[in-house]
Subunit: 343 residues, 3 copies
Amino acid sequence: MPLVQARLDVLAAALGGELHGDGSRIVEAIAPLERAGPREISFLAQPRLLPQLQRSEAACVVVRPEHLEQARERGAAIVTDDPYLYFARLTQWWAARTRSPAAPGIHASAIVEPGARVHPEASVGAQAYIGAGARLARGAVVSAQAYVGEGAEIGEQTRLAPRVVFERGCRIGARGLVQAGAVIGGDGFGFAPSQGQWVKIEQLGAVAIGDEVEIGANTCIDRGALEDTVIEDGVKLDNLIQIGHNCRIGAHTAMAGCTGVAGSTRIGRHCTAGGSAMILGHLEIADHVHISAATVVSRSIRKPGHYSGFFPIDENAAWEKNAATLRQLHALRERIRALEKKS
Amino acid sequence: MPLVQARLDVLAAALGGELHGDGSRIVEAIAPLERAGPREISFLAQPRLLPQLQRSEAACVVVRPEHLEQARERGAAIVTDDPYLYFARLTQWWAARTRSPAAPGIHASAIVEPGARVHPEASVGAQAYIGAGARLARGAVVSAQAYVGEGAEIGEQTRLAPRVVFERGCRIGARGLVQAGAVIGGDGFGFAPSQGQWVKIEQLGAVAIGDEVEIGANTCIDRGALEDTVIEDGVKLDNLIQIGHNCRIGAHTAMAGCTGVAGSTRIGRHCTAGGSAMILGHLEIADHVHISAATVVSRSIRKPGHYSGFFPIDENAAWEKNAATLRQLHALRERIRALEKKS
Amino acid sequence: MPLVQARLDVLAAALGGELHGDGSRIVEAIAPLERAGPREISFLAQPRLLPQLQRSEAACVVVRPEHLEQARERGAAIVTDDPYLYFARLTQWWAARTRSPAAPGIHASAIVEPGARVHPEASVGAQAYIGAGARLARGAVVSAQAYVGEGAEIGEQTRLAPRVVFERGCRIGARGLVQAGAVIGGDGFGFAPSQGQWVKIEQLGAVAIGDEVEIGANTCIDRGALEDTVIEDGVKLDNLIQIGHNCRIGAHTAMAGCTGVAGSTRIGRHCTAGGSAMILGHLEIADHVHISAATVVSRSIRKPGHYSGFFPIDENAAWEKNAATLRQLHALRERIRALEKKS
């Protein structure tokens, strides 16, 4: 990774915030408060880390106004209302200077089928495949070995990482990112039972993805049966997530890794799901619903709030006893009732 | 997607059923009852949707005999004993007319190693790889960027979607479909412990898959340690499923996404598993066993039936209280006993 | 698969152990005790399988000293202190003789960017991609269609299976194995909330993997936000596992399929996790901690031991009753208390 040397005043000029201290001071990396050295910049996002601030050797710390004094006692500081957001912008500034941007144009080893429309400022990487009639907008990046199916559309500045499969007729908007190995537009899981066997329901819909959507590595979003599976603007999906056919995921909803959403479920806007949550099919989840990790959503949720449901971890011997008793829980309740009647 | 215009009498002639109404009426798509328009065909599979039937603007609705009258009040109808099965056949009819079939032959950019036998009517897509001694039968389709290992066999009319990995020595029968990103024949997870370290057990078996099997996107089926992992005819596996080494999945069993089956478990015929179910290793599951979503199967199941086990979702505060109490459940039972003795 | 014919005395000479019986006897395969035939070798690792020993037709059985006599009653035997470890070595001996080793050199269809350093004894398969400045050590194997990003490093004798994605700047040590479809170095899942939207935190770290590590098919290990995600020596990860950014997995820890580890969690050495376990973020797990399958680790674990937590499976009707009662469990406890006060 190329070495970046940034003057504090240059950073403040680019990202805002109120710089206190020597603006000519140079930093070469971003580091967590406790490990930052004299050539690194750090940030204080959580008050509980305040003790680390005094000890921190960071050249500069990004802090809220109320922490300026403590920050200055030990060096330079940048004051902002939201240090964590400032940190995010810092990482973006750094990434822009340490990564080689994708070269526009089509790599000689890529296959672009007739009728595909690739914008001259789009990039098609080595060994990538672009199907007939597919459309890549300005600044779209299809990385090495990625696959874009017939008639699929990739929006402006959207990047498909290596080895993404983005199938026939699916669409993604602008400024999106699809991580390696994700499969967008595989067949939904639909079969009609007939005499003990399963008859395939061909999936005639596609996947329609909005702007500013990020999709994690090896995550799968199935195409709809008759209409499209829809991922609205600003949705963020982690790795190894399964989104079934005909689902709609509301804008700015975020889901952690290994979560599953079964078919035809509609999830509202600004929701979150912890890792390994499982949301069953044909449900409606309201806006601003937060699901804990490993929780099974087995009914629609109409009310915003925080919902949970997983078995608490315990030492194995204790768990075995409690789990065994749990299988008699309903009977225990009856026994309590009987005792209550008597007493 | 090309426009399809289908006369109702043509559909009925092709798919059967008893057409009532104007056979010259043209439909251009299949749609759900509530959203179908005057140039679309729909179906009524669930009696609970009967109210939607009266309101439906569909040109034609596929119904059971008992719903013919209501269907006719609003337009044409096709009568059949199983409208959902008829719907499945309709989607197949539509897919056959809206998708470009894979061209037979080997794409110039594909690599076919010496000794591979590719049937002249098989199709090998762009940038695909076919290993030495592999065999592709008549009508087999290996899509763009897919990988077929040394000595692997792909049966008649079976299609591997883009970027499938079908490894060395594995076999799949006829009329199968493997979705994008699936990995068939990775090493099973086998190690012998030795002085605090793990010594690799090389996996000398393969994966043997029957006819009419569908395997979902990014699903993994591991090769056996000494013998083959076996997937019998008609099995349907959704996305992101893990099948461990030495498993046998019985014919016509279906599993929803994110399910895991640990090594050496044998699952019967005509079973189903809901999403995120986890079936532990070295178990025997009888035929016609149905496992609910997110249920952990920790013991063999000898009796057909419906089995479940997941923590019910609740508002977080309520869950926290109940989960905390759950850790004392066995003690609570003792206290109930004590009370019973006294009373 | 080529036929292997091995004399028993040759195997014993190569793998050790004390051979009893005719060393000129030839075996052609390894088989489980109950199915082994007269031209196969087997082993007895679990005393509970002792009854199978007498009946076994295996040409030779690998046994512990105490089982020599019974083994000899029915044929040849090899005595060793750890038959299961001996079995592992047998599979390695067999694999070495039945698999074609990767040819050193770079396949004509592979893309190797300028500045990549590929050792002359390394192997780059068909349609593989090696980024600028990447380094492949002696004996490293990058299989067909695999991707190695800019500046990534693959250690001696480490093999990437077909279609692995090993991204920019990530490193793996010697004698490792990454199964097909795994994604090493995708972006960690990090966003700063801002006015109801998510602002990307660019992930500036990478993934650093030690020696003798095995990573399963379609498993994902995310790159760190500021520092590296670390997988220590000897770790074994099964398929479809998610390792979040900034995690550290201690040496010789093994995890079964579909397990998730959220970001910034540190797991100790010599731990195990059963399939579908979910370990939440920012936790510390001590050495020698064993987590049962499908268990949610929601707090740090400081003490070695065996921990569990999943809902016991039951017939659906019984589960429904118990699950419903579980939602009143805390109230039930209060009622027991009330009864205790009275009595």
